[in-house]
Symmetry: D2
Subunit: 353 residues, 4 copies
Amino acid sequence: MSGNTFGRQFCVTSFGESHGAAIGCVVDGCPPGLELTEADIQRDLDRRKPGTSRHVTQRREPDTIEILSGVFEGRTTGTPIGLLIRNVDQRSRDYGSIMNAFRPGHADYTYWRKYGIRDYRGGGRASARETAARVAAGAVARLMLARSGVQVTAYTVALGGVATSQRKLTEIADNRLGCPDNEAAGRMEERLEQVRKQGDTLGGIVEILVTGCPAGLGEPVFDKLDGELAKALMSIGAVKGVEIGAGFAVAGLLGSQNNDPITPAGFTSNNAGGILAGISSGQDIVARVAVKPIPSIAKAQQTVNLAGEPVIVTIGGRHDIAAIPRILPVCEAMVCLTLADFLLRQQAVAAGR
Amino acid sequence: MSGNTFGRQFCVTSFGESHGAAIGCVVDGCPPGLELTEADIQRDLDRRKPGTSRHVTQRREPDTIEILSGVFEGRTTGTPIGLLIRNVDQRSRDYGSIMNAFRPGHADYTYWRKYGIRDYRGGGRASARETAARVAAGAVARLMLARSGVQVTAYTVALGGVATSQRKLTEIADNRLGCPDNEAAGRMEERLEQVRKQGDTLGGIVEILVTGCPAGLGEPVFDKLDGELAKALMSIGAVKGVEIGAGFAVAGLLGSQNNDPITPAGFTSNNAGGILAGISSGQDIVARVAVKPIPSIAKAQQTVNLAGEPVIVTIGGRHDIAAIPRILPVCEAMVCLTLADFLLRQQAVAAGR
Amino acid sequence: MSGNTFGRQFCVTSFGESHGAAIGCVVDGCPPGLELTEADIQRDLDRRKPGTSRHVTQRREPDTIEILSGVFEGRTTGTPIGLLIRNVDQRSRDYGSIMNAFRPGHADYTYWRKYGIRDYRGGGRASARETAARVAAGAVARLMLARSGVQVTAYTVALGGVATSQRKLTEIADNRLGCPDNEAAGRMEERLEQVRKQGDTLGGIVEILVTGCPAGLGEPVFDKLDGELAKALMSIGAVKGVEIGAGFAVAGLLGSQNNDPITPAGFTSNNAGGILAGISSGQDIVARVAVKPIPSIAKAQQTVNLAGEPVIVTIGGRHDIAAIPRILPVCEAMVCLTLADFLLRQQAVAAGR
Amino acid sequence: MSGNTFGRQFCVTSFGESHGAAIGCVVDGCPPGLELTEADIQRDLDRRKPGTSRHVTQRREPDTIEILSGVFEGRTTGTPIGLLIRNVDQRSRDYGSIMNAFRPGHADYTYWRKYGIRDYRGGGRASARETAARVAAGAVARLMLARSGVQVTAYTVALGGVATSQRKLTEIADNRLGCPDNEAAGRMEERLEQVRKQGDTLGGIVEILVTGCPAGLGEPVFDKLDGELAKALMSIGAVKGVEIGAGFAVAGLLGSQNNDPITPAGFTSNNAGGILAGISSGQDIVARVAVKPIPSIAKAQQTVNLAGEPVIVTIGGRHDIAAIPRILPVCEAMVCLTLADFLLRQQAVAAGR
């Protein structure tokens, strides 16, 4: 495959540009017999959709999912599941002014260098809209994992310099930012509003928690569980860093601090983040990703045009202030896809024992 | 493949345990006509080998490479390159005392859960010794990349809480720790000595710098260059975090700070770390990894045995205090393998233009 | 991937059932800059479509292709090409009578054993309708190959026991059966009519000729060009045998007869069928496939139902008498996809020379 | 992978040339806990080895297998199994006379076109010696299959124009040619002797029979069981055709003749060769391959040299008269590898049901 297929046993192949006819994907390798309806997928898609607040784009993207194949009488058949989302509000005229300029922090320049093509329509394949296909596929993976008791939840632990001081998962649904700390969420909202007025954007940190994951998932040495999670999460456009468990903090720890002691009742700490030697340990899996500020800012920026001449761009259109919270279901989807794949890969060899 | 093959076009398949007969790998997809001798590989292997100081294990592991195939009259033929390193000093008796206990922070527990096997011989496949095969394969990739002007260098930017205050690449070779700051390297050595006496171990941070990388490498959307680098680096046993460019710092930046302005003379900053939208931009690629402390410590640790009973383990044998600096050539190897693969993948489609 | 993706560099992922909402595929890895319109694809689809004569099914399957992504301003962008064909005439009621019986020679029994599902709607994923997605993807590959001067043509060399006595390629378009021998085509039509009246069906042999293929395609040792062609062609439902060049006739030849002598003007024969040691030689590539009779026959047949009880089935509905000639563009598509993939794979390593 | 890896879940990666230091392979994905010794592998290797009669090469190739990894205390561990066979009798001087000429029917010409390299040492990677690695890997697969009751047997059904008139499997071991018809075997030996005196070589047909294969193996639509078997067998250098069940004979059958009726006691015929719609049916799997005459003949042949000038070559050295019977264990190995892979792939999705 040429970069648009993820997974080996539970596989998703994605297609589509933000301003083309449609986006979608093919989920191949899903076991037969899984109950699946469009509503199961729509639920996650709706969490990713824009237009729910001032801080996210007001574009109308209904993101209505259609299951094209692979489901018969409400259950998966084991054959590939085709998923389609039509694009309905492309308004490519908004992008006319930046047709010939490379927007800083955007895919414009590298896509042009790689493909020799300048598709100026709002990012094309590099648009965050592409992640809707990930979310749709991830919803299928999530259902499969649920049968095994695996739950995947992403939440905001920092935004625009405001960090949470607790992880109260019950509060995630209380605020619009998916933050397990209502008080911090309030301050994050203030920061978003402040920066919105400045015509600027914000970055943050998302944590993903997996509960109920059986021990034994992950395929050493190259396809370690943490390695594949890192790829899965870093393949999301806005992500610039991934860490597992104690993450970068391990650099300052002693071995005696970092090692998680084992007792008959289980591990007494979880610096490993649920993954030891690339294999799940049965503990909660904990990952965090660094989310960069949305590159589309209203402020004037220095760049060059296709002719290499210096120009100043100011990006209009309707854009989010932060990738958070819309990135939360995308992070969950990529973790679900990774775990679903490893669950099947482990079944392949363990079933014969 | 089942977890031991890396890459799609330039591929390495690895095998071998620390206490078996040999370790090695097969490099498949290397173009024909590349000058390659055992000395080219041995050079990198020697940088990884133990026994060069008090802080690294004194085991005799000569790591002598043998090229078994794929080279004729000093050049690669385009057929698979078989690489073999015999194990010569296994001394599995050292591990007798921990035969039945799961060492905290080690692969013992998860390998047992995954495979149902307790291979107590010093880590077996999960031993850091496995990385010698990566270094050998990476040396071949490095030669291929050098023809295109790509250079990959890893160096230590933090160890045991001591951080470098500069990145003077000329100083990397001056000190034993591969640190681009001789003064910091001195303090790191002191910290190592201190912790060695305590029977404990240290973590740190390694930065990898790629110069000369052409624009256009990376395959959106899932096989982004940063995604594959994250996988490649996170697949190294001791790594618990990966970041690109500004990395986790982006969480606190504004869009106007994080976006790298473009001028006719090029980008004026490199927060992106040389990768935009998953594709190399032609700037230097910059990645950092968090390296956990070596889990084998001399201090007593709480754990359980195979019967699930609580036991105290004290790990003897000859072990490093830190994975740094031996991990440096491993990081370089994984980055070389990733870039070699993407270089060929890009040639596949770009050649026809 | 889980069985529905073909190719490594030029890849197609297929989805869809005969009686679901749609069939389609994603073509990933097509180089950018290739001129591509829906008409280019429709042309091949129309050659595969039913309803053009008495001997093929009269169902209305307009097979209208829609390009969903990957094309901008009439050219491919290098991103995945989503292709969609809606199903418009499913009439699943025709299949009611065989809902609980396993039709001999059909997928019914093995799909049920594999997936534990009985999708009785006309074959579902195993229907020949699935091949429309192959033809659509193959049309893209064909365009890419044409740029390199490669032409792929399939034609009928035997049908119902009637064999061609010549291979006059100019006559292929003269008759409805794609036969390079108008006289034989006439006798084949008589045989079809005769068997149609008996409520029976016919098998045949298709030959595929590739001209203009450059030397050097194919990846020893497992991914030999003939190996992948064999897989590609045998993966078509009706195919039970594949041979290259002299094929099964080599069993009766002496080495001195079978070896193709080489002269300064080229090879003087082509028993090898254009492939030596799994690599194209630059000669014409010649392959033949054995096509089984359509299993849906009007005659009464002995079988069992889901309960394992003996039943007699008579298959109504509208079915072809022979897979020929509709299988011809499918054979071409699979060969085009195989060659496109190997062309890119060869460019990956040869470009650096 | 670049052509030297076979399989997706049970994978083998092969390396080595006939006149290099060694050949071997890495088997990745074998489940843990399988009893495996070098003797298990040596048994199959010995069936492939030369020097057992006048009709096969007298070179000394002891083909001694060494297990380098992946086995602990007599059982597989689930980690990659490294297998090594040293080359001990290369005598590359024998090939000096054909250093600059392209031997008809050999890989010389196409390897030179593909790789730009002229490795004149007896075929190098294209030598039949490469198949020893397949046999070694296949022996591991065979053991795994045996646990599930699957047996794979290849035998000679035609050689030099002499066909068997029966398939009495008990007679296979009675004669040196692996022929299930002792009387035919006698006539085949006479034909071999006759042709040996003429300095020529012979082709034949091998049939492979699989008993005990469970229903449900194979992954539609592209990775059908027959498709992968066709690739597996066609990837053997000497094979020019593959057919399943009735094979090419289906071209002359009516649907009513070809369809295998189903009764409560099972299928009443096996024209399908145990595979329906790409999935095993539980019947015996039957495949046949066409084996070309060994291209190395003692007779003078017309060819060109590297400069493109016409030359006459006469190939000395010690060569077989026919690839049969040494190819028999190679055919078995490829079928074992294919089935082992599909068995694990099926377990991946079926285990969760």
